[in-house]
Symmetry: C2
């Protein structure tokens, strides 16, 4: 296993005065204190986590921080998407202020995307910004939500509709924690890994088709896939930090995916985010083929691979009843990727050839969805 | 009155891609639609105001916006500091999302500092940022809170402890609205005008000592004093947008002032912000003299002028009982101008010669306050 332990990667995100490092490797939680203390001036650290992750990793993280001289305070929240709420945001801010976390002190998100998004938002608004470290503990958050600085909470009108751009000061992606993920959760994160190939890295998608079993079983291939995903996302973010153009490509599969999540009321027993993205990416390729922008063979190839790894690829793969197409359209219209009433979609000319289309007629989307729901 | 109407000022705040204009003049609300539509792409406008201001100016503003083709939605909140809360922030976000305000649409703060701070915060976090215009309707907000991009709400631990930096896209300071302010409210705003002289513009303080009556009675001297104040603040903000150094000078009088506000539980019948700043500025000059940094004559000169215009200048000017010095110190320690446990204060070498001191012993502050409270 020594090759696994030594295959540590560093991805630097060069965002000027907001530049930061992403470390990817085995056992980073156990030496978090050292990595953080070399980068942060303050000596207070607040750990925000959830019940599931906290039970496994809060102790080791706190020990490491205290060994390096940090005073720690901790808050453990319920696990699950419902935690990304105004109520919990208020609670996190209150805990940080009560602990007198100051601008040079650090707030640490120990958990998946929910904890990262909520904590990053709180760290961005308490005292108008304190230091912030992400320790993502799911594959999804390691390759996606912990990179790029988008933070936020959900509103009753939709997901992630309230938040700030807040780049972390450091990301520690400890690959050892992935060994305790359920197969389903790992697969859901894999959908985002595959997404980077589909956006603009066809050779990465080829590689995943050949090596996905090694990625799932752990070891150097997994670490490499995570590092390559972080690098791919970092490249896009550096080119367009505030999502005025190119960054929208990261939403490949997400407009459909978010609508499906909304339609299933964010019930994780029916659909988790990565699963929605998986179905959404297949739909985006099929919709592109329907508009004669791409070959139907590409859509079939994408579906074949995602199905092979065990991900859902069709709306009918979702358990339970789905609402009519009109309801899905409502969720799409409320999605924040809408400008001046026109629909913006990420479409594709084929595997690794996606692009931003900002003039997609909603009537086309509606009839496409209606067909898909009939099957 | 024609000279009054033509004395319009424009202060440009050159913050790169966050650059914006401040227009200062008579009757700007009546032509807000035109000024906004030339600068904003979207065609939806949300007006956030309070009961008092809304009763006078909401109609004219809405008419102007609709005449220029905006669809408007409005929210009227209770007047007063208590509105700067998480609950009202949630409410504003909900209204903006329900109205489907998108990134290029505009949110307009029509009111004083409370409405401006709350609305600017909401506009900065809904969809991670939509367009934002300030129409400040108090002297205080025209010369201070609407310039510089600090937004936020209060927490139970203190004022303005949660928020974001969010520069507006435009500020319209309509001087006509100042005619409806109470004398007390105008005076409170005047404390911040005088502050700019005390920070680093001794010649402006001289000018105010000679011309304050004209500033109070309206006309060109008033518009000029407002424009000069906006320019003074803009200069400091441009030099240090995120308050890492020089910007802290704007807190002259504010550390003591905030503590007094906290001690009177933000009860505006006892003390409003500008009054706290007035007393705080005198205290800052007296404290500087006590530390042998400035002449006691400067403190006397500052007190004489502020007293002449009718502002409170001593803790004993505040009606009702004050807590002991230890309680005031607690509020000071929770103030966000604290780094690594040491007290940061704005001290002075004399009128117009203030500076940031980041090593003020809290024991000195405590004994100074104890003396002041005994009188």
């Amino acid at each position: 296993m020594s090759s696994q332990q030594t295959s540590e990667h560093l991805v630097h995100v060069p965002l000027g005065e907001r530049a930061y490092d992403i470390l990817i490797g085995d056992g980073l939680i156990g030496r978090a204190g050292g990595e953080i203390s070399t980068r942060i001036k303050g000596r207070k650290a607040a750990i925000i986590t959830d019940e599931n992750v906290g039970a496994l990793y809060h102790g080791p993280l706190m020990d490491s921080l205290e060994a390096d001289g940090f005073d720690t305070v901790s808050l453990t929240l319920p696990a699950g998407e419902k935690t990304k709420s105004f109520d919990h945001l208020t609670k996190v801010c209150d805990v940080l202020l009560e602990a007198r976390i100051e601008r040079n002190d650090v707030v640490i998100a120990l958990g998946g995307g929910v904890i990262g998004d909520l904590t990053g938002f709180a760290a961005g608004i308490v005292r108008r910004g304190v230091r912030f470290v992400q320790i993502p503990t799911s594959l999804l958050s390691q390759v996606d939500s912990s990179v790029g600085g988008k933070t936020g909470i959900n509103a009753r009108q939709g997901k992630n509709l309230v938040g700030v751009f807040n780049q972390p000061d450091l990301v520690l992606a400890d690959t050892a924690v992935l060994n305790t993920l359920s197969e389903r959760e790992f697969r859901a994160g894999y959908a985002e890994v595959a997404k980077y190939g589909l956006i603009d890295k066809p050779e990465f998608f080829d590689w995943l088709e050949r090596n996905w079993r090694e990625v799932f079983s752990g070891g150097p291939a997994r670490t490499e896939a995570i590092a390559l995903s972080c690098q791919a996302k970092a490249d896009v973010v550096v080119a367009d930090e505030r999502e005025n153009g190119r960054r929208a490509l990261l939403n490949l599969g997400h407009t459909f995916g978010h609508a499906l999540e909304a339609a299933t009321h964010y019930d994780s027993s029916r659909l988790v985010h990565g699963e929605g993205v998986s179905i959404g990416m297949v739909l985006a390729h099929e919709f592109s083929a329907r508009l004669n922008l791409a070959s139907p063979d590409d859509a079939k190839r994408v579906e074949r691979h995602l199905k092979e790894v065990g991900l859902p690829t069709r709306i009918s793969d979702i358990k339970g009843d789905m609402p009519p197409a009109e309801e899905l359209m409502k969720a799409i219209a409320q999605d924040k990727k809408v400008k001046g009433g026109q629909l913006t979609f990420i479409l594709t000319h084929g595997v690794g050839q996606s692009f931003v289309a900002d003039d997609v007629p909603s009537s086309e989307v509606l009839s496409f969805l209606s067909e898909k729901l009939e099957r």
